[in-house]
Subunit: 187 residues, 2 copies
DNA sequence: ATACGATTTTGACTTTTGTCAAAAGATTAT
DNA sequence: ATAATCTTTTGACAAAAGTCAAAATCGTAT
């Protein structure tokens, strides 16, 4: 089971353990424009995207839709605050394309902690990767101009450029729609 | 041992286990303007701040000093990328005031994993708190204006206002020095 | 192909933020 | 107390980004 960054190879699991882990996951389809999670619900699943593309977003005070993340194949979807602390989510997660996920429920995941002590380690490592990703994102906002953030987005996620609305990208990099259009125009 | 958000109370440790945990920590003083970590070094300690105030910063491409965090009493200092992946740090961590920390080395911490399986859980939970903090920070950049970010900083960290240079705050909220001065002027 | 809706671009204008350099104010060392 | 240094404020200006509304473009369903 090699799932990109989210690999469990390095934990030297036995066949047994791998089977045990995988047996706790179930497949799930999410059709284009359907929700994997709605704001107000408590996130009850971690999802690994095997196919397709989803995005997360929420509404700010002025009811603007703010895109916070894209989840193409190979992504792990965890709505950290909601899933970990059993709180209602602020975010929606919606499929941009027909998508296939492999999901594990909160409860199943708790069971795994008991059956497989390494599961804590795995989850901690996954968390560490998330931390690096978000730090990187915060740093971009802190130090880069709108146009530099767009450049960076393009080089980090070239595959997404063809697959998502520019409006989503604009909001993801924290820029007005019209401004992104102008940024793209000049070179 | 109640250390604010970073509490180990909820893990229902025995006296033994608490002693075991604490025995792995050692005290460390960092005088004003001294470094807890320098860029280029591999971060070898997690530090819990019991007294004083430190900050983390790095230099961007144009050699601007960018403040990324403040660590007053009650903070947990982990330079995630460097500590977890044993990579040289981009960041400096320097004391703004004479500070006292309680630190645990990478190795000691690894030993704790073996002696105390719950240590993984604790570290995962600490990571989850960090994730929420950084997400909150990224969201501020994504959705708030410079002056709103300053307001938010003031209400989130009122104690820091009196204790750190405005220049550090400006950089932390991603705003030019002169701009922050003007923001503060008008009301 | 046509028409509808959604997305993207454009124009004219405003507001926000940055830049640079100088002045004012604080702080520290001698 | 004074000089030297660091921090903060200010002014004049420039650049970046936002706003609003209309036009152009694209995609899809009929």
């Amino acid at each position: 089971m090699n799932i990109g960054k989210w690999t469990i190879e390095k934990y030297n699991f036995s066949e047994e353990e791998i089977k045990l882990t995988l047996s706790h996951f179930v497949p799930k389809m999410v059709k284009e424009n359907e929700f994997f999670l709605k704001a107000g619900e408590v996130s009850n699943y971690i999802g690994y995207v095997t196919k397709g593309l989803l995005r997360s977003y929420f509404y700010d005070d002025q009811a603007n839709e703010i895109t916070t993340n894209f989840f193409p194949e190979g992504s792990l979807i965890i709505v950290a605050d909601s899933f970990n602390n059993r709180l209602p989510s602020k975010e929606y997660i919606k499929a941009i394309e027909d998508s296939e996920l492999s999901i594990i429920s909160y409860q199943e995941q708790m069971d795994l902690y008991k059956l497989l002590p390494a599961w804590y380690q795995i989850c901690k490592d996954f968390g560490d990767i998330k931390i690096s990703e978000i730090l990187n994102r915060a740093e971009s906002f802190q130090t880069l101009s709108a146009s530099e953030r767009y450049q960076k987005f393009c080089s980090e996620f070239p595959q997404l450029l063809q697959r998502v609305n520019l409006g989503y990208i604009a909001s993801y990099i924290g820029v007005d729609n019209a401004t992104l259009s102008r940024i793209r125009k000049k070179k």
